[in-house]
Point group: C2
Chain length 441, copies 2
């Protein structure tokens, strides 16, 4: 390998600016993604921040030996930028020379530079630090980052304030045993299952709040739908008249977020062949109606009257898709027994709650609803469930000193990403998943 | 209280639109912040999403008894919007009527509607769900939300991809004993001290990445500078020539973020009398120079040659402020002994590292530096420290298969907010702080 003097401060350009340098020789950095030898020349694909850049090696214009260049080397190449319609980006770089900044010590144990990483999901995840380098794999998380940008843009523009609530908490928000415990300087503490308590406290402060942050569920399920740590997109708003306002706001938020993706992530959408749905209105059915609809349409017996089986969520989505064309469906009025102590009962029928889930392509991606804001009503519901009200004094402070009618929702970011792209297993849309068997990498 | 029919769907306006309704009667919602009786009339201050709205009660135009209205009630008021230059916002609302949506069951045990919450920090934090409702208290966190918006805007516009790394990890990133342990389905796991490993892995994927997320330190310090869970603003970039590029990028990022605040948070800045510094260039000194400078200027003996005492950070900042006018100062080349195993040693002097801290108004708010990218160099440094290299195999995978030269930083969001606003104690800028004595609320 010939080392040339590479003066980074003069002609080194960031890949985003490359189109301004057609016909010029520039220096550009990246990681060698793939070397494909043809007869008499070679394609050298360079992985840059967000796209692959097609470079061409030929002894006609390249002043080094091709063998000196290795896949997974970090390099600064010197090359001439050419318009070439045959390349995907319309640009090609003729390699003149390169310097190596960092070299791998070995070949990757999994092939990462084909169109897909041909591996089981376990291998894919075991080798995550390198399999994520695959162009399609990383595009999943570019889209995920785009979803977050789109969501935050909507929320920031609609009067929400971002909050940062603690993840180490004194009590579970959602009840149940699926909570991680830790020793906190000799006291028992927990990892938060949701920012529920805090976002509701903050409704009394800012009226509209949101948080995109990790939550933790110690569920022992080992399914394609569950992971034990996930990113929850939470918002909560005050002064609602009913939980339908939350559903309307979510509809607008998702619609604008998908528009944002279409506009800013078209390359990733094309690469992954993502079918981005257009949202105008999302149909809604009550839980009981949905149960009966599924039973009658598919001639299934209802065995669980309190909750959906995963298969039922799929069937309902299929049905709604066929009948209305919508990839989304709201299910409302879940059973009070199955919802937490803070869920507001429906006045006309206290066996059900002012709550909803949003199903998307066969999977629940959102849980939301109106919460109890009245102090006495909240205390009464807690007592009726045999809860130790005293233990929640700090949380009930918000109610005691006046909390507006309010509600909100939580969206599983990984589930939303997975279903958008078309994965059955939520792990495909989780950068470094944590499940009952997986704590690494 | 007279209940009037309040048709929310017709003339109910969001507070952001109120200026478009001058001279009109509108419905507007909020929480009664303060009732101040004057002779013959009363001021009723309504707390809305981001500002206080001055309303006036008078039997001349109000159709209800003032006694029916209570502080901390959530209400929808009907009132006429009037231009009034004497009010802070230039707007005043003449109360015609109101309906109560939610009422407190008691008066607050701490006065929250004066200019300041006159309480010790312990009381302030014990009653956080209500003390945060104070206009100045909540403005702190509006500014914090604004900082995050400004930072993300800069990062999104500069080629970074946002990542979500796991908080439950198999090993500490920073070493040392200050790590929270938890039982993970029978295995020992930890809460992350920093997203260090993951953001560096992701440099091999996206070249530039960032994350704004909680980190956890089980430090037993009980000081005004430490909390046990904080929000870390992390970024990491590939293809750097030296760690000075990280410092330059941070300088630009902070400068643009403060500009963003000036532009979009002027009301909060005025309310809190925040002195937002203008950043052009940030001076830099080496750690050894700084130590000597402090010793000679203040006639202090150097007792710790490896690290700063908190008092020295203050003195250095005072000195730099006097000499250059800058509120910020970079300190570079910290001792290798005091930096983690992944810090790159300075080639000319391996006792120090290619690292820096950023001090702001007397406190360290950032730690950053160049990391070791070469696999063999990293393994050698780990071995020289007696570390079990095998245990880090999954993490070293990124190095083994090629990682560009890179570095990055972590900023403590609460510290940055605290010092910007002028607090000595970082808890003032933490929504719900966690420390050795505090796990609630």
């Amino acid at each position: 390998m010939e080392n040339i003097t590479c003066n980074l401060s003069t002609s080194h350009v960031e890949v985003e600016q490359i189109r301004n340098h057609i016909g010029e020789a520039v220096k550009i950095h990246g990681i060698v993604y793939k070397i494909r030898e043809m007869s008499g020349f070679a394609f050298v694909i360079l992985k840059t921040k967000k796209a692959l850049l097609q470079c061409v090696y030929s002894q006609e214009f390249s002043s080094f030996e091709l063998a000196a260049l290795k896949e997974n080397m970090s390099v600064v190449i010197t090359g001439e930028v050419i318009n070439d319609e045959r390349s995907r980006t319309g640009i090609e770089v003729r390699l003149i020379d390169f310097i190596c900044l960092s070299a791998p010590v070995d070949e990757t144990p999994v092939v990462i530079n084909n169109k897909e990483v041909a591996a089981t999901i376990d291998t894919l995840l075991d080798y995550r630090p390198i399999t994520l380098r695959n162009a399609k794999e990383r595009a999943i998380f570019q889209i995920q980052a785009g979803i977050c940008r789109g969501l935050r843009k909507f929320l920031d523009e609609n009067g929400f304030t971002e909050i940062h609530s603690p993840k180490i908490v004194f009590s579970g928000a959602e009840g149940g045993a699926n909570i991680f415990k830790l020793d906190y300087f000799g006291r028992e503490a927990y990892l938060t299952q949701s920012p529920q308590f805090y976002k509701r406290i903050m409704v009394g402060v800012f009226e509209r709040v949101y948080e995109i942050a990790p939550v933790f569920r110690a569920e022992k399920h080992d399914t394609s739908r569950h992971i034990n740590e996930y990113t929850s997109v939470d918002f909560e708003i005050g002064f609602i008249e009913s939980f339908y306002e939350i559903m309307q706001l979510e509809t607008r938020m998702l619609s604008e977020t998908l528009d944002f993706l279409r506009k800013h992530y078209s390359e990733e959408i094309t690469l992954l062949k993502v079918d981005i749905p257009t949202i105008t209105e999302i149909p809604a059915v009550t839980f009981n109606e949905a149960k009966e609809l599924i039973a009658s349409t598919y001639k299934r017996k209802i065995t669980d009257f309190e909750d959906f089986e995963p298969e039922e969520e799929k069937l309902l989505c299929d049905l709604v898709k066929k009948q209305t064309g919508s990839d989304f469906v709201f299910v409302t009025h879940y059973k009070a027994l199955k919802r937490p102590f803070y869920a507001m009962n429906t006045p006309q029928n206290p066996e059900v709650t002012e709550s909803f889930d949003l199903l998307f392509r066969g999977m629940e991606i959102t849980t939301g609803g109106q919460r109890i804001h009245d102090y006495n009503e909240q205390v009464a519901k807690m007592q009726s469930r045999g809860m130790n009200v005293e233990a929640f004094n700090k949380y009930l402070m918000a109610h005691k000193y006046g909390l507006p009618p309010h509600g909100g929702l939580g969206i599983g970011l990984e589930r939303l990403t997975a279903k958008l792209i078309g994965f059955q297993n939520v792990r495909h849309a989780t950068m470094f998943p944590r499940d009952i068997n997986r704590l690494e990498p």
